[in-house]
Symmetry: C2
């Protein structure tokens, strides 16, 4: 279901010199003796998640699917990126109107987006899932004010109880108060799970269940990953190997990691990955800068730079064994385009050869490549990959020597913004 090929590393071996460091990091993560260990609730989540809440999520999702054309998910950062990653990966490329539409909002401050969203929703039946631990984060809070105002115009307080769902702190904060006083159903952002590790809590699960995604299978995939990747056995634990590989790259001057896909459905999975890795590792003047590419698209863009530019890049490629759909190139009489040599071959086969050829080309240009293969895009493989990257980044950041679970730098822009906005206290 999930494998990694580490054989295309151009930099001198062995990365196994980091074996003991990775085992040590895993040990500290699991016995909660690492820095930031108060935020490691996600480690056991695939096993010990709250079954009662899980059922409530499914019931709420059913209700929303019945009474709404759209669900507006209001959240920023970890409060929406996980859901969007899985949602997009599981969606068709061309939307059908029969499906419920999930609209993400409150994740930036574009006034145009906000105004156009309000117009779009005017004639639609919609529900809202507002997601924020504190309930006071600027972007989602502003967005929710506008959406709530529209709801007040469209729906009675009683109707709103069937349409507003809150995911927030279990007992305190603005949204918890709001849900208490208005009777909105609420779900929990656990105290020991940071935003970027929260996709397998109600934060990610409610929007995904509304989308029609099998969240049982998602948890099952994550649970399989937990079994595989908490083993204290380097040779048998791909997360330890990946974390070691990354740090080996970093110590060899490779400070940009590109998460590469050959299937754009993984585009927002890459965004989730970028947040997970950048926020976990980018501190104390350290860290590998995570970026992403869609190939073969970007082979006609940054591809030139990867092949012939500075040698400060390595690639982590995700390949999907079986595409959702495929079709075969046919023979053509005229053959003006010289493609007849491909007749009888499938488009996915050509895509795979593009991938293999690119790996060879990049490695020959001193760009190290590792290749992750999943059998197909489904809830199980996505759940597995989510857990894989979570455990990998924790181990990787600990090897790097930083706290994987804080994000002190995110406060800086907020402080400066609040000062300019003359927020009381700043």
């Amino acid at each position: 279901m999930f494998k990694i090929d580490f054989s295309n590393i151009a930099t001198q071996h062995p990365m196994d010199q980091l074996k003991n460091e990775s085992l040590d990091a895993l040990e500290k993560l699991l016995n909660k003796s690492c820095e930031g260990s108060e935020f490691t609730g996600w480690v056991d989540l695939p096993e010990n998640y709250d079954r009662e809440e899980f059922d409530r999520i499914k019931k709420a999702a059913e209700k929303i699917r019945k009474n709404s054309e759209c669900l507006v998910v209001i959240g920023i950062g970890g409060s929406y990126m996980g859901a969007k990653a899985v949602d997009y990966a599981m969606s068709d490329y061309f939307s059908s109107e029969k499906e419920i539409e999930i609209i993400y909002a409150g994740y930036q401050l574009s006034s145009t987006y906000m105004a156009q969203l309000l117009k779009y929703l005017e004639d639609k039946d919609f529900s809202v899932n507002v997601i924020s631990k504190s309930g006071t984060t600027t972007e989602p809070a502003i967005c929710f004010r506008f959406i709530k105002e529209l709801m007040d115009k469209k729906y009675s307080p009683e109707e709103q109880k069937d349409r507003i769902f809150v995911t927030t702190d279990k007992e305190k904060g603005a949204l918890k108060e709001l849900s208490n006083s208005n009777g909105f159903e609420s779900f929990i952002v656990p105290d020991d799970v940071g935003g970027r590790f929260s996709v397998l809590t109600a934060v990610g699960l409610l929007p995904l269940a509304v989308k029609g995604i099998n969240i049982d299978d998602l948890m099952l995939g994550a649970s399989e990953a937990r079994n595989d990747l908490t083993k204290k056995d380097y040779e048998d634990n791909l997360a330890l190997q990946y974390a070691s590989f990354r740090n080996y790259m970093y110590r060899n001057g490779k400070d940009i990691e590109i998460l590469v896909n050959y299937e754009m459905r993984l585009k927002y999975f890459a965004e989730w990955f970028k947040q997970l890795f950048a926020e976990s590792e980018g501190k104390d003047n350290k860290g590998i800068f995570p970026i992403s590419c869609n190939f073969t698209t970007d082979l006609h863009s940054v591809g030139q730079m990867i092949q012939d530019g500075q040698k400060n890049v390595f690639e982590t490629v995700i390949s999907i064994e079986n595409p959702q759909e495929d079709l075969v190139v046919k023979e053509e009489k005229e053959n003006l385009d010289n493609l007849n040599y491909l007749a009888g071959k499938s488009v996915d086969y050509v895509n795979k050869m593009a991938m293999k050829g690119t790996i060879t080309a990049h490695v020959s240009g001193n760009v190290d490549n590792i290749l992750i293969t999943i059998d197909e895009i489904n809830e199980k493989t996505l759940g597995y990959m989510i857990y894989f990257f979570e455990i990998s980044v924790a181990v990787s950041a600990l090897i790097l020597g930083v706290n994987p679970f804080n994000q002190p730098g995110v406060e800086e822009y907020k402080k400066q913004m609040f000062r300019l906005l003359e927020k009381p206290g700043y």
Copy 2:
């Protein structure tokens, strides 16, 4: 209409030491004595473009808008990124069904995308613009075979003449032959304009005219930029200053440039920028790696890494003075979210303060920032920005000491792919 603030540079001044190098580069570009000068046709394009073809583009666009619900634009790299950049920048965030839909295809090898596109088009009236200089580039050629097959089912040869538009070499190649023998109208990819510089030729203009974009204004904006930015006067030429700035950054160890926007409508403009800069500069083991961020979204993602990570990053921020739409935050009795301090302020004002605060925060974290401001997103400012970045990258690459107009590394993956696909001759 277009200005740059260079005052937030954290790295020690002066970047003006590159003044003479930039003037020298511009001189060589304009008198066609630089490397790759056979591909500098784009420099004078805003003045000397083919008026007869321009009119044909408008007429073809009118025809397509009348007979089609969708236009499928088939092209990869420079053959679609410019059109997509401007198209997306000029689009509303939520699509209305009244508008003609522009669908980009043939820019990757996802079999799922191809199959789902064919299904989607089955019941639609559509036209095609296939864009490729040679007509044999793998991705668009495969796509066009499938689209043509669907067209053969839906439309007679006579009808296809009103629905298939070819943008290709003026006299040779697969697509030119096809258009000659079938009577498809064809437009020209000029010999002296490389793919990534081709948005202001028929390559970009036809899809954009179909979208309803005012291509006269687009050319006008570019023409204004040409007047401003071909001046051999460093103090008065922002392109020279920007090119100098970038190289100054590079020489000071800043090898990642982030193009930042605070309005997601510029998301694909950033993709165009990335291609332009990566392909032009990424060679001979040199080059600044161009990436992009949507803020404030990514302040909750890679923002942590920018603030506190390695100091190898600088930012080029694009700010839009006047948003397309805006709305004002209202006072709320309960004020659970503590947002009442923003009452009476507009969402765009908050967005601007987020931008200003972020620049201050990042500069204090040793991340150099420059700030480009345009008055609004429209055809003129987009045309101006396109030309600005084109002339800037040419000057910048020449200062760096590489040929700005070739892309030898892009062939590497193709060679390896063709070998694996057993293409005759490989």
